[in-house]
């Protein structure tokens, strides 16, 4: 399991609060038995809506192609538990997300696939989005060690829960190996629970 300390690259903004996982990856793309190929369908219906309205969604804008950092606002990834949502974003090429807040299940899914989501203030999320829109070539660095995001000579405070931060820095973000190492204790806990023995 690799350590994840900093992610640097160009960034892409997706503005708006409460962007749910149905918008990130519509349910029709969940008709699959692997996560392969989901990247190209990230935000598909929002992209179609923008096209109909004469706009171009950031994921369709040439200038944001190849971005590694996604910048969002409040309660990103709310709704369905589908891991297909972070998988689609990750497979499109995003390696880290900067935003104000995330839904719990979405957050857990991003840790499990090794895509850090850091928290910044509402003002900073908007400032970063404006900065990227003004100059898409700007390099954004998400630094988990220093708990900050740097872009265009500016530094923004960026936090994540101590547990997740440690998991990324130490390369233990894939929980399964750690959980497997405790299987003997798991069996003891199970034996102590009253309901496992009921018939």
């Amino acid at each position: 399991m690799s350590k994840i300390q900093t992610i640097s690259g160009r960034a892409i903004p997706v503005r708006g609060g409460d962007i749910d996982t149905d918008r990130i990856i519509p349910a029709r793309f969940l008709r699959c038995v692997t996560f392969e190929g989901l990247g190209e369908h990230a935000f598909e219906d929002d992209r179609l809506q923008d096209t109909r309205n004469g706009l171009v969604h950031p994921f369709d804008q040439e200038r944001f192609q190849g971005a590694k950092v996604l910048v969002v606002n409040q309660n990103f990834g709310c709704g369905s538990s589908r891991e297909h949502a972070p998988q689609a974003i990750y497979r499109w090429g995003v390696q880290a997300i900067v935003g104000v807040s995330y839904s719990e299940i979405f957050y857990g899914n991003t840790v499990a696939i090794g895509m850090p989501c850091v928290h910044v203030s509402p003002e900073d999320s908007v400032e970063l989005q404006t900065l990227i829109e003004t100059d898409p070539s700007v390099e954004v660095t998400v630094d988990l060690e220093k708990s900050e995001v740097r872009a265009a000579g500016k530094t923004f405070k960026a936090t994540l829960p101590a547990g997740a931060r440690g998991q990324f820095l130490e390369g233990t973000w894939d929980a399964m190996a750690e959980l497997v190492s405790g299987i003997e204790s798991v069996k003891q806990t199970a034996a102590a629970l009253p309901y496992l023995a009921w018939k």
Binding site: D20, D22, P26, E83, I105, G163, Q167, A175, G182
Partner: protein, 469 residues
């Protein structure tokens, strides 16, 4: 200092602290379905790992099953492939699967309680956000992603952080025509879609005490729409009465032990909460959503709220909701024309939901409006049989509703049941997100099953209190 149910159950299921500071949490009941499990089994195969406690996982199929022609192979070849994948994965790993035709298939959150698998004082996990439903029994139940489904299969545990607990107290008697669905839509409207992030919701007070288990499931089901990963209600005599005699419920001497354990897990009278919010049941009206988030609700006699009534940071979202739904501030909620009516889902696909909807159909006496397509989808094969035994199917079909087979259906439209174009749907489901019901431009109005039934008959959103007095 007393403890909450959340803390008691979390502590008794904690195996150990992990180096990350999270707890390794034992999962008492793991539920799987065809959409979020195939990749998890593939990961297990990649890592050459087997399922640790196959008897603690139950599988059914719900999201992609057609509700009309269920003959195999399915016309949708991808749906067929997903069915075959879960059949193979469960067979290879010794996991019980309830398939269509077994008599016990249905929406996973309806099937587990009706089989007596969901019990108080348990931890329940499933690769589906509406796992919160099982909290109605006093279980700690939450949705997980596919990598976590893998973790539970391999170790029967998850790496979890402790949540804070908010007690949501509702007291008083609900007025005629006001249902559990209205209570949760009202709570969401006040506490918002993100107000519960970081919290478990404990629903308490005389209104919930008086509710049946099915009503409690409707409430807990939508805790996730408020950002709370789980919601629960302390177990009581109503809970025990519901469980007694069900297929997997404890029996004989174990029943007595179970009662003792279940009573012990309820929150202590002096339990300390991180937050408490109170509501008066008498103030709750039949509630309908007008926007693109479940917290965009309003009483049926109200109008679409003005953007100025929302905090500054929300206003861009509200404008987006107006544009997507094609509504304006000040437009009355009642009278909104609908094209489709859907009664079903893990929120409102149980026998009591169909009884209430059928009651409205009978009292109204009319037929589904000529321009409306109305479908009624039982949440499980057992619900379907029970409804047909009471003649409810006939009440619906005589009035022009279609009576279907069990599944998730148009809640998320992964099967052939979909909106077309800009259609407006009156729906008893849980999410009014953009594109949720299968058309990327389709529109959803969430409401109680009784309100959906009346909207179907009138062809427009109408106040069910004119029928249910």
């Amino acid at each position: 200092m007393g403890k909450t149910l959340y803390h008691k159950v979390f502590d008794s299921h904690t195996v150990r602290q992990l180096p990350s500071g999270q707890a390794q949490l034992f999962i008492g009941l793991h539920l799987i379905h065809e959409v979020t499990s195939p990749q998890a089994f593939a990961m297990l195969r990649d890592r050459k790992t087997s399922v640790l406690f196959p008897e603690r996982t139950m599988a059914t199929v719900d999201h992609i099953v057609p509700t009309e022609d269920q003959s195999r192979p399915y016309q949708d070849s991808m749906a067929e492939e997903m069915l075959k994948a879960i059949e193979k994965n469960t067979t290879d790993n010794g996991i019980k699967l309830y398939s269509p035709g077994s008599g016990k298939q249905g929406v996973v959150h309806i099937v587990a309680p009706e089989l007596g698998l969901t019990l108080p004082g348990m931890t329940v996990a499933c690769g589906d956000s509406h796992t919160a439903t099982h909290g109605a029994f006093g279980a700690i139940a939450f949705g997980i992603g596919t990598s976590q489904v893998r973790d539970v299969l391999a170790t029967q545990t998850l790496a979890m952080s402790r949540l804070k607990v908010r007690r949501i107290e509702v007291n008083g008697t609900l007025k005629a025509g006001v249902f559990a669905k209205d209570v949760i839509l009202h709570v969401l409207r006040v506490l918002t879609a993100k107000g519960g992030v970081g919290y478990a919701y404990e629903f308490a007070g005389s209104t919930f005490d008086a509710m049946s288990m099915e009503e409690r499931m409707t409430v807990c089901n939508m805790a996730i729409e408020g950002g709370a990963r789980c919601g629960y209600i302390n177990p009581d005599e109503t809970t025990f009465e519901y469980i007694k005699g069900r297929e997997f419920a404890p029996k004989g001497a174990d029943w007595e032990k179970a009662l003792e354990y279940w009573k012990s897990v309820a929150s202590d009278s002096d339990a300390v909460f991180d937050d408490v919010v109170k509501f008066d049941a008498a103030e709750i009206a039949p509630t309908v959503t007008w926007g693109i988030s479940p917290d965009h609700g309003a009483g049926v006699t109200e109008s679409v709220p003005g953007v100025e009534t929302f905090p500054e940071a929300e206003r861009a979202n509200i404008e987006e909701a107006y544009a997507y739904m094609d509504v304006k501030a000040g437009t009355p909620i009642a009278g909104t024309k609908i094209d489709v009516a859907f009664i079903g889902s893990c929120t409102n696909g149980r026998i009591s939901d169909f009884r209430e909807a059928a009651k409205v159909v009978k009292l109204h006496g009319g037929k589904v409006a000529a321009h409306v397509k109305a479908i009624v989808v039982p949440g499980s094969e057992q619900v379907k049989v029970a409804a047909e035994a009471e003649g409810l199917d006939k009440v619906f079909t005589d009035a022009g509703f279609e009576w279907r087979q069990a599944g998730c259906s148009m809640c998320l439209a992964m099967n052939p049941d979909k909106l077309v174009g800009r259609q407006v749907s009156a729906s008893s489901s849980n999410r009014n997100f953009k594109g949720r019901q299968g058309s990327s431009t389709g529109r959803t109005l969430l409401m109680s099953p009784a309100m959906v039934a009346l909207a179907a008959l009138e062809g427009k959103v109408s106040d069910v209190r004119t029928v249910l007095k």
